[in-house]
């Protein structure tokens, strides 16, 4: 069974690689390469997989899931400039793909030893663009 919880955070970022010229960055990242940065209302969907506990009827405690998402993702990222305030985005370009992968890394340890496992991280940068990351980048 799958369980999905949604959360939102607002953050700014710049997508530009230091080894590229301004023109090249614009070709690779489009308007997101603007050096001053810009922001999004990100929507995060965290999906867990597993079988519900027969006693409680729950796959995972929803309040605990909310707390995990808040402390691992929302508190550090909400109303922040990702490149300046949220490592590793001082060194890693904060594309939607990389932010989704970083969220996966931050969340996954919280489910070790529980009956639920992290199944998917979906990150909407806008209503028209989202990434699904499931911990496997091969």
């Amino acid at each position: 069974m799958l369980l999905t919880r949604r959360a939102e955070f607002s953050a700014s970022h710049v997508c530009a690689h230091p080894s590229l010229t301004a023109e090249q960055n614009s070709e690779v990242y489009g308007p997101a390469a603007n050096p001053s940065g810009h922001g999004h209302n990100y929507v995060l969907e965290v999906t867990l997989a597993g079988e519900p506990d027969p006693a409680t009827g729950m796959l995972f405690d929803l309040q605990r899931l909310k707390d995990i998402i808040n402390s691992a993702v929302i508190e550090p990222m909400d109303h922040r400039f990702l490149n300046y305030e949220v490592p590793p985005f001082d060194k890693v370009v904060p594309t939607t793909e990389n932010v989704a992968a970083e969220i996966w890394l931050r969340l996954e340890p919280s489910f070790e030893g529980s009956r639920a496992r992290l199944h998917n991280v979906r990150l909407y940068e806008t209503e028209d663009l989202y990434v699904d990351y499931a911990g496997d980048n091969k």
């Binding site: 997508c15 690689h17 070709e27 690779v28 990242y29 489009g30 890693v92 370009v93 904060p94 594309t95 939607t96 793909e97 990389n98 989704a100 992968a101 209503e127 028209d128 663009l129 989202y130 990434v131 699904d132 990351y133 499931a134 496997d136 980048n137 091969k138």
Partner: protein
Amino acid sequence: MTRVARRYHFAASHRLDSARFSVTQNRALYGKCNNPYGHGHDYVLEVSVVGPIDARFGQVVNIKALDRLIQSRILNDFDHRYLNVDVPEFKELVPTSENILRVIEDRLRKSWPRELPHLDSIRLRETARNSFELKAS
């Protein structure tokens, strides 16, 4: 593998009517969608690609390149058009959402640039209540 999905919007009209059936049969089969002058929708097309996140640039896909492809191969021909009349594939083929998806997939498959990652699926939302998805072949 990581999946990136991008949504595009086009407004188009269509009429569901098949030469294979009689007037009465078309009316029974397609209902309101058979009304003679056609009607329109704000379609949402979701195009998904899969691939590894490029270690250097942090991208699965160059969105600008994907946008250019969808704009030139789909949106320029479909947006603000009467599909039955303006899009050649629908001269003979009834523009149901299922058939629109097949036509879009066919167009994309024939013009898919080598530098873009694998096309995973396309989804078409006709209205907020009806959506259709085709896994790319």
